[in-house]
C-alpha cells in the first residue's frame, strides 16, 4: 500500500517539472513562436462590432489594436472601426471570475457608437465582464452591458442622452494578450 502511495505521489508531482513557471505562464513566455489570434466582438444596439488580430503577441511598436495592459489595474482596450473600446478590471491580480462595473462607482467611458461616446452613467447602466480563462498570458471571456450616450461632451460635465438607451450584448473576447 505504501509503495503504491509513493508511486502515485511521484506520478502526480514529477510532471509538474515539465510545465513552465507561473511567471512565464502569466507573461505568455513559451519559447515557441506560435501565432495566436485575438478577437473581440459584441453587438451594440444590434450592430455587430468585431476585431480580429492575428499574431496578437507581436503587434509591433506603437498603439496595439487589442490587448490588456497591467498598470495599477488591468485595462482591456480595442480599436474598432467605430472607435475605441475600453474596460478596466479594478484589481491588481487579474484572475478567472466576474468583474462588474456599475454607475454607482462613477461615470466610465466604454466605447464610441454612431459618433457618440458611450458611458456607464445611468442608474441601471453597467458593464459585466466574465473572464473564463487566463492562461499562458492570454485572457478569454464574455461580457454585456448597458450604457448612456453623451449628447454634448465636456467631461466631467457631460450632457447625457437617454439613460440606458444603448445595450451591449453577446460580447466575447478570446486570447487577448496581457502585457506588463
Amino acid at each position: 500500500m505504501k509503495f503504491y502511495l509513493i508511486i502515485a505521489a511521484i506520478t502526480i508531482l514529477l510532471p509538474s517539472c515539465l510545465k513552465q513557471s507561473i511567471p512565464d505562464a502569466m507573461l505568455g513566455i513559451s519559447g515557441k513562436q506560435i501565432k495566436i489570434t485575438a478577437t473581440l466582438r459584441y453587438e451594440i444596439n444590434g450592430n455587430l462590432v468585431s476585431i480580429t488580430v492575428e499574431d496578437a503577441d507581436r503587434q509591433g511598436p506603437g498603439i496595439h489594436t487589442l490587448e490588456c495592459v497591467k498598470s495599477s489595474n488591468y485595462v482591456l482596450s480595442g480599436i474598432t472601426s467605430s472607435g475605441d473600446f475600453v474596460f478596466t478590471f479594478f484589481t491588481d491580480s487579474l484572475k478567472v471570475g466576474n468583474y462588474n462595473y456599475t454607475s454607482s462607482y462613477g461615470p466610465m467611458y466604454v466605447t464610441t457608437f454612431q459618433g457618440k461616446a458611450q458611458y456607464v452613467y445611468g442608474p441601471t447602466d453597467h458593464m459585466s465582464f466574465n473572464v473564463t480563462t487566463y492562461k499562458d498570458g492570454h485572457i478569454s471571456g464574455n461580457f454585456s452591458g448597458q450604457l448612456t450616450p453623451v449628447i454634448t461632451p465636456g467631461f466631467p460635465n457631460n450632457i447625457y442622452g437617454v439613460p440606458g438607451s444603448v445595450s451591449i450584448k453577446n460580447g466575447s473576447f478570446t486570447n487577448v494578450p496581457v502585457a506588463y
Binding site: 505504501k2 505521489a9 509538474s16 513552465q20 513557471s21 507561473i22 511567471p23 507573461l27 484572475k95 499562458d136
Partner: protein, 181 residues
C-alpha cells in the same frame, strides 16, 4: 482576498495560542527558467494531530522566499502556502522515518521581475499546492524534532513553481500518543 486574510489571521492566532514554533528550511527552485534564482529560505509553522499510532494529520502554514541572482533582494518570488498532510511513519510507532503527502492552497504568491525597460513587473497569483516529502522524527532529550526533505509544486495560470526543500522543525502535537516519545 479579505476572507483569505481573515482565515490566515485566525490560523496563525490558533497556532500561536498553542505555542507552535517556527521552523526553517532551505530550498531550491527547479524546472524551466529557474537558473536565475538563488537558494531560497522558508519559515513555517507546523502542527500535528495523531490519528493512530503510526500517523498524524498535519497542518502547515509557510512563507517561502527566493531572490533573483544579481539583484540583491530587489526581485524574487514569495509564496505562502497553507497545507494539510498525512504523515505516516514507516515503522508504525510515530517515530523514525516517515512519508507525508500534502495538499493545500497558496494564499499569497508574488513574483517581482525586472522588465526590459528597467521597470518592475509584479505578478500576483494563488494556486493549488501539492507536496510529497519524507523525513525522520527523533527526540533530543524530551523534545521531538523532524528532519525532512520535500518536493513541492504550486500550480496556477497554466504553469507551476516547483522546489525542493530541506527543513528542520520542532514538533508540537495537540495530544500525546499512547506511546511516550
Amino acid at each position: 482576498m479579505f476572507m483569505g486574510k481573515r482565515t490566515l489571521t485566525a490560523i496563525v492566532l490558533c497556532l500561536l495560542i498553542m505555542q507552535a514554533n517556527a521552523q526553517i528550511s532551505v530550498m531550491k527552485l527547479i524546472g524551466n527558467n529557474t537558473k536565475d534564482y538563488k537558494i531560497g529560505f522558508g519559515a513555517f509553522i507546523k502542527t500535528g494531530l495523531p490519528v493512530s499510532e503510526a500517523a498524524d494529520v498535519t497542518f502547515e502554514l509557510g512563507a517561502n522566499i527566493f531572490f533573483m541572482s544579481g539583484y540583491g533582494t530587489q526581485y524574487g518570488t514569495i509564496m505562502c502556502p497553507l497545507k494539510a498532510g498525512y504523515r505516516h511513519t514507516l515503522n508504525g510507532t510515530g517515530q523514525g522515518f516517515y512519508v507525508e503527502p500534502q495538499v493545500g492552497y497558496n494564499l499569497i504568491g508574488i513574483t517581482s521581475l525586472p522588465s526590459e525597460t528597467g521597470e518592475n513587473i509584479d505578478l500576483k497569483y494563488h494556486g493549488v499546492v501539492l507536496a510529497a516529502g519524507a523525513g525522520y522524527m527523533f527526540t533530543i532529550g524530551r523534545a521531538p524534532f523532524d528532519l525532512n526533505l520535500r518536493y513541492e509544486t504550486v500550480v496556477a495560470h497554466g504553469g507551476s513553481n516547483n522546489f525542493v526543500s530541506l527543513g528542520i522543525s520542532r514538533i508540537i502535537s495537540f495530544k500525546k500518543r499512547e506511546t511516550e516519545y
